[in-house]
């Protein structure tokens, strides 16, 4: 699971008012290189919850993302920063670990990169 996906997932437990973001518990992080796409990064930037993303990247072991979101001009002009943003958003994978509901603390395990968000009542 990469951080772009993590930025979309929220706790689906009934009664939880704010289930985002899920806390990350790391057991194993894997880095997988993918080709950078500058335009894509510039387009996706305003849609990302920056605090959740930068906090998560630090938990995954990468310290290069600032706590405060950068000005959009940084993404236009600073190619080095784009590379780091790309790395944090798309190249860091939580392979083994868990995601925790921020309100209830309930654990959603992550195995082989796949988070299991099923609740007991969902089981088929």
């Amino acid at each position: 699971m990469r951080l772009l996906t993590h930025n979309m997932l929220s706790s689906n437990i009934k009664g939880v008012t704010n289930g985002f973001p899920l806390k990350i518990q790391v057991e194993k992080v894997v880095e997988k290189q993918v080709e950078i796409n500058h335009d894509f990064l510039r387009n996706i930037f305003p849609k990302i919850d920056w605090k959740a993303f930068s906090d998560a990247s630090r938990i995954m072991g990468y310290d290069e993302m600032p706590e405060e979101p950068p000005e959009p001009s940084v993404l236009e002009l600073n190619v080095e920063f784009l590379g780091k943003f790309h790395h944090a958003l798309l190249e860091l994978h939580l392979e083994e670990g868990a995601l925790l509901c921020p309100e209830t603390g309930r654990k959603f395990p992550v195995n082989k990169g796949i988070p299991n968000m099923l609740l007991l009542e969902d089981k088929v």
Binding site: S10, N37, I114, M117, V124
Partner: protein, 213 residues
């Protein structure tokens, strides 16, 4: 990538080893999958450089097709862990970078406007009534640009009415009618193969709607 090339690559993907009838697990054949994604990309520009989600991905055929046609990020969602394992292997075999999430679509906790396009071949609702509309409901909440989906032709009028009136679609168009081959997968199937008429739909969500967090 040419359509034929895409169809060939998808034809090599592994499919369900023991399909679960209660989940209506049928493979999305390479013929339909290639045409669905090819149309989405070439007629509407809804795939390349976009974030694409495959709802009820099963063995990942639609998601793989999206990745092959240049989707920037693909996320496959399914409730069944065995399918997700096969989907993972398929993605690896084709050297595609796809994220998978195990969850129930009806209970999808999903935030924000990150997903551009949803592609899906949802269960038709023969085992769990109304599940096709549950999928469509969630898809229209999640997608920013468009939803591509397959539904039985016999439900065409109902779907159009419901999508426009209740599910916040600003448009609902049938792009074409296809024949879906359902091979003899389950013990209760009497015929060797059966053809079901399905519609390939393109839905556009209303933009003015505020997405909930």
């Amino acid at each position: 990538m040419k359509l034929k090339q895409l169809e060939t690559l998808l034809g090599d993907l592994q499919q369900f080893t023991t399909p679960k009838v209660e989940l209506e697990q049928y493979p999305t054949g390479p013929h339909i999958a290639s045409r669905l994604l090819y149309t989405a990309e070439n007629s509407f520009d809804d795939i390349s450089n976009k974030v694409v989600a495959d709802f009820g991905c099963g063995c990942g055929t639609l998601g793989a097709a999206a990745a092959l046609l240049g989707a920037e990020q693909v996320i496959g969602i399914d409730i069944d862990p065995q399918s997700l394992e096969i989907a993972s292997m398929n993605a690896e075999d084709l050297e595609l970078d796809i994220d998978f999430v195990q969850c129930d679509i009806s209970n999808l906790g999903w935030r924000g406007q990150i997903v551009d396009t949803v592609v899906m071949n949802p269960p038709f609702g023969t085992r769990k009534k109304g599940i096709d509309m549950d999928f469509l409901f969630v898809a229209l909440k999640v997608a920013s640009l468009a939803v591509y989906s397959l539904h039985k032709t016999s439900t065409r009028d109902y779907i159009k009415r419901t999508a426009l009136r209740d599910l916040n679609a600003s448009s609902a168009e049938v792009l074409c009618e296809l024949r879906f081959d359902v091979p003899q997968l389950y013990k209760f199937h009497k015929k060797k193969e059966v053809d079901i008429a399905v519609d390939l739909w393109r839905f556009v969500p209303k933009r003015s709607r505020v997405k909930d967090n």
